[in-house]
């Protein structure tokens, strides 16, 4: 088994945040960044106080939130693709993201666009997003029938996704201009408002989900070859599928509440990881989130650096990359058979 791809990824995961933290308008070098890190670990810090503040309070939380979001969405996509045996599944396909967006948007609309990142606003947004995504999962499961057929689930997911997108548009249309402006944040996705205060919940939920998914790696892999196959290996298929759907909807909801709608990451990353790490299948449950996190940090770097003095929304970049990726995958499939 080749282990060098894993080592490359780990090195990349170490270098990426450091590199990303020195990209920006304020001139902070890698030496400055390392000095700040050393300083905060106990040594004296000779870097300018303003630079320190920018690095610690603006850049670092942004990078951490980007990493957590990429990791969480990639993990959610990986688990959804596994439990539905659909390589094109992601939180969007099953309406989870749309439901979460609708829930969050409804909360913002009710608050009249006055979203400050206080703890109560965060709980409200997260709660709204989770209720929306959970409602979406319930509808999909109800429509999937007693035997929870995958094909019906996909169709139900698409319908539910459109339904919530439509409801979101309606809320946007009916909201006052200030709320509508805040709502744009959710539809496009951004890490610009990242603060250390909002990091705890996504981090805790991501770690909990990651550990649960890691523990269930073997039963989840058994489901890849079909329900009958998994059942014959002792897996309680329906219970596991429903539990995983609810857990991924919780994870997606937390991330959507904090960053807005960021599409295609959950679809793309598990695909790329499967191809790149073919001989490291048993490591995919941790490789996928790490790769997703690294990817999202780079997307954020592109968003900040592509146009001078102007920041592009994250969702625009991931959707652009994702749609090209989707077309390439579908094209290769169409012509390889």
């Amino acid at each position: 088994m080749k282990s060098w791809p894993l080592w490359c990824l780990l090195i990349l995961a170490f270098i990426t945040p450091l590199w990303a933290s020195v990209v920006g308008v304020a001139n902070i070098s890698i030496h400055d960044a390392l000095t700040i890190v050393c300083g905060s670990l106990g040594g004296g810090c000779e870097v300018d106080a303003l630079k320190q503040r920018i690095w610690i309070e603006l850049r670092l939380p942004r990078i951490v939130l980007a990493f957590l979001t990429g990791a969480g969405l990639a993990l959610a996509g990986k688990v959804l693709q596994t439990v539905t045996r659909n390589p094109l599944a992601d939180p969007y396909l099953f309406g989870i993201s749309s439901g979460a967006t609708f829930g969050a948007v409804l909360v913002i609309a009710v608050l009249g666009g006055q979203v400050s990142w206080g703890i109560s606003a965060q709980i409200g947004l997260t709660g709204g997003a989770f209720l929306g995504s959970a409602l979406s999962v319930m509808i999909v499961l109800l429509l999937a029938g007693r035997r929870v057929q995958i094909e019906r689930m996909v169709l139900a997911g698409v319908a539910t996704s459109f339904m919530f997108s439509s409801a979101t548009s309606l809320v946007l249309y009916a909201s006052d201009p200030q709320a509508a402006s805040s709502l744009l944040f959710w539809s496009l996705g951004s890490f610009a408002r990242a603060t250390w205060g909002q990091m705890l919940l996504p981090l805790v939920i991501l770690m909990v989900c990651f550990l649960v998914f890691l523990v269930y790696t073997r039963p989840l892999n058994a489901m890849l070859a079909g329900d009958e196959n998994a059942r014959s290996l002792g897996v309680e298929v329906h219970k596991l599928r429903i539990s995983m759907l609810l857990l991924t909807s919780l994870l997606t909801a937390i991330l959507v509440a904090n960053t807005g709608g960021i599409g295609f990451v959950g679809l793309m990353i598990p695909h790329i990881v499967r191809r790149l790490f073919l001989q490291n299948q048993k490591h995919l449950m941790w490789v996928t989130p790490v790769f997703g996190g690294v990817f999202m940090v780079w997307v954020d770097v592109i968003a900040r650096g592509l146009i001078d003095g102007h920041e592009l929304p994250i969702g625009v970049i991931t959707a652009a990359l994702g749609s090209v990726f989707f077309i390439v995958v579908m094209g290769r499939r169409a012509w390889s058979h």
């Binding site: 045996r85 523990v215 058994a222 890849l224 196959n229 002792g234 897996v235 499967r274 001989q279």
Partner: protein
């Protein structure tokens, strides 16, 4: 029903009594009052035309379908009181076709045989890895261990599933048409390897010559019922094959096999009309 004294004398690993199953709506009954035993160590073949209910019966035995009536006893315990994991510790299943394994390698698929025996927090031990390695070597799969399962040929895939079944260490192996889509070499190879495992087997088989050559006992199903049961040389008669499969055959003794193993020779064209006429009358 045709009896078989040697068969009936053995200890049974699995006993099915009066099992009936209908599709969820209950409107269409697929299995009617099925009863049979599988003695320990016996290789039992399930034969019958398409739609006879063979796969449905097997699904009832490995927990996918839930029969409306009847009992299934596995080593003296009611199968339906065991949870999925307990069932999988006793029964291994090889299906006729394999859905996409989405990137899993030969090693990963074979290692799935450990799932019923491992707790969620138990990792693979050195002994587990050695067992997987020796099983893959035994089945000539070691050079393919890093290959993607989906990239294998049909015969290689079935060997991987057999490796998984061996690692699962079952008391009973259920196989649903395992030789479908395999060429003659792989059909014989697979069946010989299964036979060499020496465990109790229930296999649905379409090829009557394969069934005759490898099975100790045959169950014949038609229209959701077991209509005959016995050793291959008592069950596989020209009349039974004509009645059940609507095929005209000549049955004689196989020249290369011991124990009066029957050999079935099909009349491919000339007798078809005659049979159709017979069926109508």
């Amino acid at each position: 029903m045709i009896g078989d004294s040697v068969y009936e004398m053995s200890d049974n690993i699995l006993s099915v009594e009066h099992l009936s199953w209908s599709v969820a709506s209950g409107k269409r009954r697929i299995l009617h009052d099925i009863s049979f035993d599988i003695p320990s160590g016996a290789f039992v073949g399930l034969i019958g035309p398409n739609g006879a209910g063979k796969s449905s019966l097997m699904r009832c035995l490995y927990g996918v379908h839930h029969p409306q009536s009847g009992t299934v006893t596995l080593q003296g315990r009611d199968l339906f009181f065991l949870n999925a994991r307990q069932q999988a510790q006793k029964i291994s299943v090889i299906l006729q076709e394999h859905a996409s394994h989405m990137g899993l390698t030969v090693w990963d698929v074979a290692a799935q045989g450990l799932i019923p025996h491992k707790g969620l927090l138990e990792w693979e031990t050195k002994q587990d890895k050695l067992r997987i390695k020796s099983t893959l070597e035994e089945l000539d799969l070691w050079p393919l261990r890093h290959h993607e399962f989906e990239s294998l040929s049909g015969g290689e895939k079935q060997r991987v599933m057999l490796a998984r079944a061996q690692i699962q260490q079952p008391e009973l192996l259920i196989m649903d048409e395992p030789t479908n889509h395999l060429d003659v070499h792989y059909q014989i190879d697979l069946m010989n390897r299964v036979k060499a495992m020496g465990i109790s087997v229930l296999a649905s088989i379409h090829d009557l010559n394969i069934a005759a050559a490898f099975c100790d006992h045959l169950l014949v199903m038609d229209k959701g019922r077991i209509i005959a049961s016995g050793s291959p040389n008592t069950v596989l008669t020209e009349n039974l094959v004509a009645d059940v499969f609507h095929a005209c055959v000549a049955v004689d003794r196989h020249p290369f096999m011991p124990n009066e193993t029957p050999r079935i020779t099909y009349a491919y064209q000339t007798k078809t009309q005659e049979l159709n006429d017979r069926g109508e009358s």
